[in-house]
Symmetry: C2
Subunit: 66 residues, 2 copies
DNA sequence: TATAAGTGTAAAACATGTTTTACATTTTTG
DNA sequence: CAAAAATGTAAAACATGTTTTACACTTATA
């Protein structure tokens, strides 16, 4: 699973910490997701898309190959 | 989180068991998600959307109020 | 109406996502 | 350049998602 959080975050001029606060998770969670340590829950994916003014389908790309 | 899996499944004329096989999870998982026992992982959400010929953003709706 | 196919459900074990606490390194700015 | 802000990271505890096994109930079909 690839994501464009960093790009959208930069476009929206917002830090990992701010994005964390706005989505109600910790900064570590945002950092881990950006660095592909794991994927967010579906709910968090939607919250991230909302705050970053985009959609889940645009924010993430599902690598069909595992 | 609300989902339209049952509706899309019906449109695509496919059983819970078939959808499970196609997405690589168990029938119980599909059943639990349809009945809102829990939300799928982001990857499973994408796989479901693909198989059901729709998008994550159309298949699920994020209830902003927790 | 009998049988098969489809659906609902449950508990235990296991896998993945998130928090907490804490510190190190890098980047930005006065 | 010094200080502040931002980012990377790690381990333990906790929360949520998924499998396995198993059985009961309902709906479709011969």
């Amino acid at each position: 699973m690839k994501n464009y959080i960093k790009d959208f975050r930069s476009t929206n001029k917002i830090s990992q910490a701010e994005l964390a606060t706005l989505t109600g998770v910790t900064r570590q969670t945002i950092n881990a997701i950006e660095n592909n340590k794991y994927d967010p829950s579906l709910k968090l994916a939607f919250d991230l898309a909302n705050i970053l003014h985009t959609s889940v389908d645009e924010l993430f790309v599902n690598n069909v190959e595992e």
